[in-house]
C-alpha cells in the first residue's frame, strides 16, 4: 500500500532540507553552480528579487521554459514561486513536477484577501511569515514549511532577524500559556485554534522554519541559525556578489558550522565583494515586500 503526498510526506521533505541552504537561480548554469556548491535545493526564478525590486512592474510565476531548464539541470529538489492567492500558477507548478512551491510576497500578489488553499495541491508549499499569527494562518491553509519574509532583494538581514525574533516570542507565549488561555490567544493573533493547540503541545512550530530575505554573507546565515532557524534561503546574495561560487560554498559551510567562529572566519576569507545592500529606512512603505500577505 502506498499513499502519495500526505501532509507527513510534504512536511518530511522540509525536514530533509534542514541545516541546508536553498539558493535562487535564474538558469541552468546558476543551478549547476548552486548544486555543486552544496545547495540542498534551488529556487527557479525569472528574475532574482534584487532585479525585481530594481525593474519594477508586475512579477509573476517564472516562464515554463526557465523552470523546465532548471529541473533538467540538477538532481536536488527544485522550488518555484507562485503569486499569493494564484492557485492556477500553483496548479501549473504542480503539473510541471516542481518539488516545493513558494507562495511568495516577492511576486506581485494575485488576491488581496486570500492565500491559496494548499491542502488540495500535491506539491508541498513554503510560505513567508513575519510573526506567529501569520505562520499559524499559513499552516492552517496547508503550508508544510515556513520561512521568515525578511526584506528580499535588499542584502540587509535586519527584517529577517526581526521576524525570527517575533516568531520565537510568539511560540514561547503559546508554549507557556495555560491551556485555558489558548482560545483567547488564538483570537488575539488571528490564528486557527488547532494550530495554536498543536504548538502548545509540541513546544515548537509543527513545520520546519527557515530564514529568508536579506541574507548576504556567511555571518548572516550563521546569525539566523543561532537565532533558531532550521536553514536558510539565499536569494540575491549569491548571484549579485563578486564571486558567486565561492560565496555559495562559504554560506553552505557557515550554515552547518554556525556555532564555530573559527570556521566562519576561514570561509569568510577572499570572498570578493558582497552584494550592495539597501537600508530598510530608505525604502518607501509601498516598496516593502514583507507587507504583502494577509
Amino acid at each position: 500500500m502506498k499513499i502519495e503526498s500526505t501532509f507527513k510526506i510534504k512536511k518530511g521533505l522540509a525536514e530533509m532540507l534542514k541545516g541546508g541552504v536553498i539558493m535562487d537561480v535564474v538558469n541552468a548554469e546558476q543551478a549547476v553552480i548552486a548544486e555543486k556548491s552544496g545547495a540542498v535545493a534551488v529556487m527557479a526564478l525569472e528574475r532574482i528579487p534584487a532585479d525585481i525590486r530594481a525593474e519594477g512592474g508586475v512579477a509573476r510565476m517564472s516562464s515554463v521554459e526557465t523552470i523546465q531548464e532548471v529541473i533538467d539541470s540538477v538532481s536536488i529538489p527544485v522550488m518555484a514561486k507562485a503569486r499569493i492567492g494564484h492557485f492556477v500558477e500553483a496548479q501549473m507548478l504542480e503539473s510541471l513536477g516542481i518539488d516545493f512551491i513558494d507562495e511568495s510576497e516577492v511576486l506581485t500578489p494575485a488576491d488581496d484577501k486570500n492565500h491559496i488553499y494548499k491542502h488540495d495541491i500535491k506539491t508541498p508549499f513554503v510560505n513567508g511569515a513575519t510573526d506567529i499569527g501569520e505562520a499559524c494562518r499559513r499552516i492552517g491553509e496547508g503550508a508544510a514549511m515556513i520561512r521568515t519574509k525578511g526584506e528580499a532583494g535588499t542584502g540587509n538581514v535586519i527584517e529577517a532577524v526581526k521576524h525570527m525574533r517575533s516568531m520565537t516570542d510568539g511560540i514561547n507565549k503559546i508554549k507557556t500559556s495555560d491551556q485555558n488561555e489558548l482560545m483567547s490567544l488564538a483570537k488575539e493573533i488571528r490564528a486557527p485554534f488547532d494550530v495554536v493547540k498543536e504548538i502548545h503541545e509540541l513546544g515548537k512550530l509543527p513545520v520546519v522554519n527557515f530564514a529568508a530575505g536579506g541574507i548576504a554573507t556567511p555571518a548572516d546565515a550563521a546569525l539566523m541559525m543561532q537565532l533558531g532557524c532550521d536553514g536558510v534561503f539565499v536569494g540575491s546574495g549569491i548571484f549579485k556578489s563578486g564571486d558567486p561560487k565561492e560565496r555559495a560554498e562559504a554560506i553552505v559551510i557557515a550554515t552547518t558550522n554556525y556555532n564555530d567562529p573559527e570556521k566562519l572566519i576561514e570561509v569568510s576569507k577572499n570572498l570578493g565583494e558582497p552584494m550592495v545592500g539597501i537600508n530598510i529606512d530608505d525604502l518607501d512603505e509601498a516598496e516593502k515586500l514583507a507587507k504583502r500577505g494577509w
Partner: protein, 192 residues
C-alpha cells in the same frame, strides 16, 4: 560511549529524538574531532550531494569510513544509504562500504513521494519515502531486512544497515526497540 549522528545537514535532529526515546547518549558529528567517543553511527536523511560537499575539505568521511570498517553498528536512512552504498546511479559514491547498487531519486520527484506499508523485520508499519533512493541490487554478503510489495527497501551487511525510507519520522515501537538493540549490542546484529 555514544552514538554519533552525522550533522552536516538533513534530518539529524529527528534521529536525535529517536535516540532520546531510547535513552541513548549521542554526539553530533560535524568534524573529525567529534568522533573520539563514538561507538555507533547514524547517517541521516537529507541531500547526499550537499553532505558530500560540506565535508570535502576536512577528511571527515575517510575517518567515518575507518570507524565503520572497524565494525561499529552503523545505520543510514535515505541519503545515509546513498553515502554508504558502493555504487550510486545518478550520484557520487562516497563512503562505499555497503555492497549495494543504489539509484538516487529513483521513486520519482516529490509529487511521487509516498507513505508505504513496509515489512521491516517481520513487522508492518507505514513509513515515509521522500524522493527516495532505490536499492537496485546487492551482493551475497548483504541480507534484505525491509520490503515493500516484495521490493527490497532495507538491507544489512555485517554491522551496516541501509534503509531507503525514514523510520526517524515515525519512531514506532518496533523500530525503536530494534534501534536500541542494534546500537547497544551491535555484535549480534546479524542474528536480527
Amino acid at each position: 560511549m555514544k552514538t554519533g549522528v552525522l550533522a552536516l545537514q538533513g534530518s539529524f535532529y529527528n534521529h536525535v529524538q529517536s535516540l532520546e526515546f531510547i535513552d541513548q547518549d549521542y554526539v553530533l558529528i560535524k568534524d573529525t574531532t567529534d568522533l573520539s567517543s563514538v561507538n555507533s553511527l547514524i547517517l541521516p536523511g537529507g541531500e547526499s550531494t550537499s553532505m558530500i560537499k560540506i565535508q570535502e575539505n576536512n577528511d571527515l568521511f575517510s575517518a567515518i569510513k575507518k570507524l565503520i570498517e572497524s565494525g561499529i553498528p552503523t545505520l543510514g536512512t535515505c541519503a545515509g544509504l546513498i553515502l554508504l552504498a558502493k555504487d550510486v546511479i545518478d550520484g557520487e559514491t562516497s563512503l562505499g562500504v555497503l555492497n549495494t547498487v543504489v539509484e538516487r531519486n529513483a521513486y520519482g520527484r516529490q509529487n511521487q513521494s509516498f507513505e508505504g506499508l513496509v515489512n521491516l523485520l517481520g513487522n508492518k508499519e507505514m513509513y515515509c519515502f521522500i524522493r527516495a533512493p532505490k536499492i537496485l541490487s546487492y551482493e551475497d554478503s548483504v541480507t534484505p531486512i525491509a520490503t515493500i510489495d516484495n521490493e527490497v527497501v532495507g538491507v544489512i551487511e555485517n554491522n551496516i544497515v541501509g534503509l531507503s525510507f525514514h523510520p526517524e519520522l515515525t519512531n514506532d515501537k518496533v523500530y525503536l526497540d530494534w534501534l536500541s538493540s542494534f546500537l547497544k549490542d551491535g555484535v549480534n546484529v546479524r542474528s536480527l
